[in-house]
């Protein structure tokens, strides 16, 4: 069917039949001197594809503001006798914790489940498990929020929701449980060092975020010592404020009855004056740097390349969504087709970007066998240069946009995902019709937009490269990209010449 013909869809024009001329990569570059011809991605364009995009409208949540200022979003969905809850406690995330108290937000959140005024830790666990419910609380490093997630059956929704509010409002921060949690966390501090991905994010986040709080990916032995009962109580008292928070509920509930109930149930959660002030934004690095974590016995190099790009409200957000999808969004993106499907360097290679209240990095990376570290780096830079220097072919752009818009239908299977869209809109103050207009806004992204954001945010001269692997085998390779700072797997810098 349709050989290289542009076809107009309801939403936008798409070319389905891509000629094989869309060369996805140059022939294999002889990294391992393969004797067989290169493995080439190929399109036959014979599959029966429905041309229309199945357009869906995301269900709108019922919105309310409680007397204490808490924003409530409810998605009614009666498919299954099940309910999911997500409470974003704004201003209580690790983003706002004092520099010497890394992990304060996270440990406070983890302690919520370790006892309340009326229940011990084990009594709480029993009560939750008895209901078949799941309740957790956490705050990721660099996040503006602490998040409580709960889910369970509709039949006993009132009971497990009651426990969720109990841990939110009446945690005991019991001394013995805090000591036990800290002991577990101390062991985890050590255990996580076996993991290449942990070592990579520790180094990469430090490289791109500098002294911004999001540079942290873990608490430290020193900060753990400072996390006292008093410190946790103070954090909970001062930072858990309803007027900065969003409560999202999705599933088999009746919104109207529920809102009245919530107003009553949460009356004890009092409004405060807290207005969280963001720390100074992280700045994109201005010169390329290379960081290497020496992890003995590694048979792969774990790589991440990137730099600070945009925040969630940036006008470049949608062009970045499309640009990222083209270069590394999944199994049909350029990086995957080049480094895996043609070169066989890796099991998977992807890119993504983090865009929150403050700018976060775009990054690309993956795991590849030590011997092809150089070949992989060459291809990462080739792909970055290609998306900057060459205009993305119109057909490829339209396919990417089609993929983004068409995939919305899938999110309708899970009410919790629909709720997620609504929460995102609220968190970042996006307009009420934001998701209704999303497809049209994606459709409006142009070839020039993609090239513009690629040039702006994917600068090979300023990119930060982090690698975890066997320094003896890959340091010389990395040095071709700049002076290499070497660390051991405990995070300590190694003096030059010692690896």
């Amino acid at each position: 069917m349709n050989k290289s013909m542009a076809t107009c869809y309801r939403i936008f024009c798409v070319v389905l039949g891509l000629a094989a001329g869309l060369t996805l990569a140059a022939p294999a570059r002889g990294q391992d001197g393969a004797a067989t011809p290169p493995s080439k991605v190929e399109r036959k364009n014979r599959a029966p594809v429905a041309r229309d995009i199945l357009r869906v409208k995301l269900p709108k949540p019922v919105e309310a503001k409680l007397k204490n200022g808490l924003t409530v979003l409810i998605i009614e969905d009666h498919r299954a006798p099940f309910v999911s809850v997500q409470l974003q406690v704004g201003g209580a995330g690790g983003l706002y914790e004092p520099a010497a108290m890394t992990g304060l937000a996270s440990v406070t959140a983890q302690m919520l489940r370790e006892g309340t005024k009326s229940k011990t830790s084990v009594q709480l666990a029993e009560a939750i498990d008895r209901l078949g419910a799941s309740i957790s609380a956490g705050s990721s490093f660099g996040s503006s929020d602490t998040v409580l997630s709960a889910s369970g059956l509709r039949d006993n929704f009132d009971e497990w929701m009651g426990i969720t509010f109990e841990i939110l409002l009446q945690p005991s921060f019991a001394a013995d449980e805090l000591e036990k949690l800290k002991q577990r966390l101390r062991v985890q501090l050590r255990e996580q060092r076996s993991n290449a991905n942990f070592l990579l994010s520790e180094r990469f986040n430090r490289a791109v975020y500098g002294d911004h709080p999001a540079a942290n990916v873990s608490l430290t032995a020193e900060s753990l010592d400072r996390l006292t009962q008093d410190a946790l109580r103070k954090w909970h008292r001062e930072r858990y404020a309803p007027q900065n928070s969003i409560l999202g509920i999705a599933g088999d509930v009746r919104a109207k009855d529920l809102i009245a109930k919530l107003d009553k149930r949460l009356a004890g959660w009092k409004k405060s004056d807290l207005k969280p002030a963001l720390p100074r934004d992280p700045q994109a690095a201005s010169a390329r740097k290379v960081f290497l974590v020496h992890r003995p016995n590694s048979v792969q190099t774990t790589l991440s390349l990137g730099n600070i790009a945009i925040d969630r409200r940036s006008p470049d957000y949608l062009p970045m969504v499309v640009m990222n999808d083209v270069i590394g969004g999944g199994a049909s993106a350029r990086l995957f087709l080049n480094l895996r499907e043609e070169k066989g360097y890796t099991y998977g290679v992807y890119s993504d970007f983090t865009a929150l209240r403050y700018p976060g990095p775009w990054r690309a990376g993956g795991n590849m066998r030590t011997e092809v570290t150089e070949g992989a780096l060459v291809e990462f830079f080739n792909e970055i240069r290609r998306i900057r220097d060459e205009r993305v072919p119109l057909a490829e752009l339209e396919e990417s946009k089609r993929s983004i818009v068409a995939s919305f239908a899938l999110s309708l299977e899970q009410p919790s995902r629909v709720l997620g869209f609504a929460i995102t809109r609220k968190l970042y103050g996006l307009p009420a019709d934001y998701w209704d207009g999303y497809a049209a806004k994606i459709a409006a992204v142009t070839v020039a937009d993609v090239q513009r954001v690629a040039r702006k945010y994917l600068d090979p001269e300023k990119i930060q490269i982090a690698a975890v692997g066997d320094a003896g085998k890959i340091k010389a390779v990395l040095e071709k990209y700049g002076a290499v700072e070497v660390y051991d797997s405990n995070g300590a810098p190694l003096p030059p010449g010692k690896s």
Binding site: T36, V41, F82, A125, K180, R190, G330, E341, G344, Y350
Partner: protein
């Protein structure tokens, strides 16, 4: 352990959360399933004609049934077809489950079933290499394939208007995959990277293979699905042709679909694209039988990445979908599912000897393993840790578990059954799973009743019968650089 064609989640910021993950029933229901009280409704059998089904969203009854109402058909070439309409969302999922897994491999070719799974994404008569993913992705869908010891599956979720695309893609690669040397070498390299990423370059990556190698005597389950590097290197195109001819026949597969389509339309398309694929002689089933184990087996594995020791203790148990297996599966949930579970409270909270603890009956079509795994703290005395686990096992053997413990698991099952109703993919995969494993797709509805009927006496009986010294295999994984694990 399952191997996949590609990892579908991109790397994100680490999320710190409270509590332990519910490792629940992953083995039974493809990670998203599970449930509650049985109802009387029976799924129609193969002879039932294609009656028109009503969309599920009409006229809610006083008490909803959460059964999955599927229709079953068989094509002339033997392809079994299971179709369940669900018009809740404008989406559907298709799953092709092939009755072949790493248990069907021969010595010297470990890893081949999974390598072959990768080859079915490398193009077919009407689909180019890489085009499968491109077609799915560009139309808003998601796709993957996985292989384990007992089956291989391929699945896609798409917007409802791409029904024909999904059926066409699955048929084209069953009928005429295009396998050439360049693509074979490429995917061999990719699979070897998968092995490095998931086994050779991570802590405890060698432990799983050490355990199954020691516990099993017969080849089919003694080796891992990912296979050895040497065997992957030895695989040839001729192997692929043989493997395809033997196992990738319509009469050796199940096609299941759940979602927003009309059964008649789907069936017509399935007939159009699949019916001309010829049947093949049924392959001989692998001999998975195991001799009785006569004495305890022990081994120590050194691990160059691990920072802290791990203790794995397994017992040989019967095949899944047998009364004893279900009781063992339930026992595993009681022991380690949830923060309130016995082993979590004992080892992680009270004694502070382990970072996490896991107890679960593996689901295999043949002889399975009941798996205890404890990630020790660096200073834990491993002998004491092992001894304490045996005390906990003895407690189960001597005293029956509490009704409250059983009820907890039943509530968790109800929860999982309710959740199963959202995802079309998990239901399509489950139908294919139950059909291929047990020739009984209606287990998707009946399995809840089986769990409901298990009593604490059953649990005590199976604990006594299988958790014996002679029947166990103990593998200790030690950090390579660490000093000998004394109490310190």
């Amino acid at each position: 352990m399952t191997a996949k064609i590609w990892r579908t989640v991109s790397p994100r910021r680490t999320w710190v959360a409270v509590g332990i993950a519910l490792l629940f029933l992953a083995s039974v229901l493809n990670a998203e399933a599970a449930g509650t009280k049985p109802t009387k409704r029976r799924a129609p059998n193969a002879k039932a004609a294609a009656k028109k089904t009503k969309p599920a969203d009409k006229a809610p009854k006083a008490v909803k049934s959460y059964d999955i109402d599927f229709k079953e058909f068989k094509l002339k070439n033997g392809l079994r077809v299971l179709l369940a309409e669900d018009h809740h969302a404008p989406t559907f999922s298709i799953a092709m489950t092939y009755n072949v897994g790493s248990r069907d491999e021969r010595p010297g070719r470990t890893g081949f079933a999974h390598l072959f799974e990768h080859m079915l994404f490398q193009g077919s008569e009407n689909v180019g290499k890489g085009e499968h993913f491109i077609l799915i992705q560009n139309n808003g869908g998601r796709a993957n394939g996985t292989t384990n010891a007992d089956r291989t599956n391929y699945f896609e979720t798409l917007p409802a208007n791409q029904l024909e695309l999904a059926i066409f893609l699955e048929a084209d690669r069953m009928r005429a995959p295009a396998i050439n040397q360049a693509n074979f070498d490429n995917q061999r390299a990719t699979v070897q990277e998968e092995r490095r990423q998931n086994y050779d370059n991570r802590a405890y990556g060698k432990t799983y293979e050490a355990v199954i190698d020691l516990a099993y005597d017969s080849f089919p389950y003694k080796h891992s699905t990912i296979g050895s590097m040497d065997d992957l290197n030895a695989a040839t195109l001729e192997d692929a042709a043989d493997f395809f001819r033997t196992y990738y026949a319509p009469n050796n597969a199940v096609l299941s679909m759940v979602g927003s389509f009309k059964t008649e339309t789907a069936l017509t398309l399935i007939q159009k694209y699949f019916e001309n694929i010829p049947a093949q002689p049924a392959p001989a089933p692998a001999d998975v039988s195991e001799p009785d184990q006569k004495a305890e087996r022990r081994k120590t594995v050194e691990d160059g990445f691990a920072q802290t020791p791990r203790l794995d203790i397994v017992f040989k148990i019967p095949p899944a979908n047998t009364p004893d297996w279900y009781a063992l599966e339930m026992l595993g949930q009681i022991l380690s599912s949830g923060v309130s579970s016995r082993l979590y409270q004992k080892f992680v909270k009270e004694k502070e000897m382990a970072l996490n603890v896991y107890a679960d009956a593996e689901e295999k079509r043949g002889p399975s393993l009941f798996w205890f795994s404890l990630l020790a703290r660096p200073t834990t005395d491993l002998a004491a840790l092992e001894e304490l686990l045996y005390e906990e096992i003895a407690r189960i053997q001597k005293t029956s578990v509490l009704d409250s413990e059983l009820n907890k698991v039943r509530m968790q099952l109800r929860r999982h059954r309710a959740q199963q109703l959202y995802s079309t993919r998990s239901r399509a995969n489950s139908l294919g799973h139950f059909a291929v494993y047990y020739n009984d797709p209606d287990l998707i509805n009946k399995i809840w009743r089986i769990y409901d009927q298990i009593t604490s006496a059953d649990l005590q009986r199976v604990a006594q019968k299988y958790f014996t010294e002679a029947n166990r295999t103990v593998v200790t994984t030690l950090p390579k650089t660490a000093a000998a694990p004394s109490g310190s």
